[in-house]
Amino acid sequence: MSKNLLSRTNIIWTVLVLVLFALMTLLMQMGIINSYYQSVIFNICINIILAVSLNLIVGICGQFSLGHAGFMAIGAYSAGIITKMIPNYWGMLLGILVGFVISTVAALIVSIPTLRLKGDYLAIATLGFSEIIRICIQNMKITNGAAGLTGIPQLTTWPIFFFCMILAIMICTSFVKSAPGRACIAINDDEIAAEAMGINTTRFKVIAFVVGAILASLAGAIMANYFYVLTPGQFTFNRSIDILVMVVFGGMGSMSASVIAAILIGLLNMYLQQFTDLRMIIYGAALVLMMIFRPQGILGTWEFSLEKLLEKWKARASNKGSRRRYYG
């Protein structure tokens, strides 16, 4: 674990992220990544935010949530409605913040009663909750019902997508590598032991759930301000399952796995775009095969760690060095 904010690994990470950003920006400017591929990349950014935030709830804390699309819808509609009234970045910021507040309140309402219980009550409650959100949106005037919102200003640009994605990944990984994160992993490992070690299990489950919900609403908000149109049909149960598939596919409890799975599935979706119906069948089949042959996901709980990688390289380099000296 890095000892302070300016540790070697943190600096290298910052450089890598900036280089990636510069490279992608350059490719977009030069037109090598055309607008179609751009929208694919933006979708992947949104999916990464959703996948890492759901992984925090499902993979790290072990609480099975099926309502991620609901929180996403809250964020999307908050941002959509407000930016239609105030079509600038202040409006968007306000929309995102309003989305945060509403999704926090909603997450607390759903989670406090259900997370006190042990077992799968959360899955059922969140499933119901996200359907309630969708039906509400479908029947409210302010959301323009089933027809959906149109003409939302396109405020989200590539830097915003990238920044939000990195922010979400950073929030989730910092959370995991801290005392609250350890508490959540402990709850996932053994709830009785966790409680006996002084961990208020309900509190930490609710914290993880709320953080996940807030990030989902962020994903919804930046999505709303990119695609012009919002309809309740975008936030069905299928959307929640889509996100869950990424988490399970990558490996529950590993953030790097969620990122990789979100990218892979994003690319897969691009190629399967003509076969929308077939896509769900392929997903289903893939999940079944996965559960049979590799239930822990592609990467399991393996987490990419720059620190460990550097140490390995160092060890290898010094090994080579000493061997050379020995033979020399």
């Binding site: 005392a179 609250p180 994160g181 508490a183 992993i185 490992d189 006996a196 002084g198 208020n200």
Partner: protein, 259 residues
């Protein structure tokens, strides 16, 4: 010696079965108490009542705290742990996906001293607290002799070491009273002897009151100052090891009565 924990007419019923009934105990500061009894006597149930896993059907559990006597029966386990009671488990319950070190760190939750905002913003407070937690956790691991294995997965440790890690983890909650549920189960005589020394060492170092459930009589008779004997959910005897060894109720509970 001041009284630290007082249990009065404590009972727990599961449906029609009285797993534990009418237990009265008084535990003084710094004592090492043994809790013995045949299988199914209610020893673990009693532990679960004392540490909050079960809510008592009847009776009081009073703990001497800095704010005077406090009734802890029926409180949530984490609250009881915060008040200074820690335990190990009969069937080992480590956090299997974590490293040995992280297992201990996790148990230091109440003293970490920073919240989610500091963790997410990676403030100086976070780094200082984490450094302190790590040093402290390493110290606990040195106590139980697992320092060298601190980066190993807890699940990969051999059985005896897993038991010692459970003790280190319980210590990390900074308890006043440590409950050990069959710490020597599955150990060979050599390991049991080492464990006896370890318990003695930790008790002195951390000024602990220890209550242990054990079937290994060599351990119980060697280290315990006072012993409570349970049978069919009732206390049948209490006293020094010599008194217990010669108590007729205890002998008949273990060996059966003469016909």
């Amino acid at each position: 010696m001041a009284e630290l924990l007082k249990v009065s007419s404590l009972s727990k019923n599961f449906g029609g079965l009285a797993a534990v009934s009418g237990i009265n105990m008084s535990i003084n500061e710094g004592e090492l108490i043994g809790l013995i009894g045949p299988n199914g006597a209610g020893k673990t149930t009693l532990f679960n009542l004392l540490t909050g896993v079960y809510t008592p059907s009847e009776g009081l559990i009073e703990l001497e705290t800095t704010q005077g006597k406090k009734q802890i029966g029926g409180l949530a386990p984490y609250k009881i742990t915060e008040l200074g009671l820690a335990r190990t488990f009969q069937n080992i319950r480590l956090f299997k996906s974590m490293s040995v070190l992280d297992n201990v760190k996790t148990a230091m939750q109440k003293n970490v001293g920073y919240g989610v905002p500091s963790a997410l913003l990676r403030t100086a407070k976070f780094y200082n607290a984490e450094r302190w937690v790590e040093e402290k956790a390493e110290e606990y691991l040195k106590d139980v002799g697992l320092y060298k294995k601190r980066f190993e997965a807890a699940d990969n440790l051999p059985y005896g070491e897993q038991r010692r890690l459970e003790i280190a983890r319980a210590l990390a909650t900074e308890p006043k009273i440590l409950f050990l549920d069959e710490p020597a189960a599955g150990m060979n005589p050599q390991e049991t002897a080492e464990l006896t020394d370890l318990i003695d060492h930790l008790r002195k170092k951390y000024n602990l009151t220890v209550i242990l459930i054990e079937h290994d009589m060599s351990l119980v008779m060697n280290v315990c100052e006072r012993i409570y004997v349970l049978n069919y959910g009732k206390l049948i005897a209490s006293g020094s090891p010599e008194e217990i060894q010669n108590n007729e109720f205890v002998i008949s509970a273990y060996l059966g009565e003469e016909i």
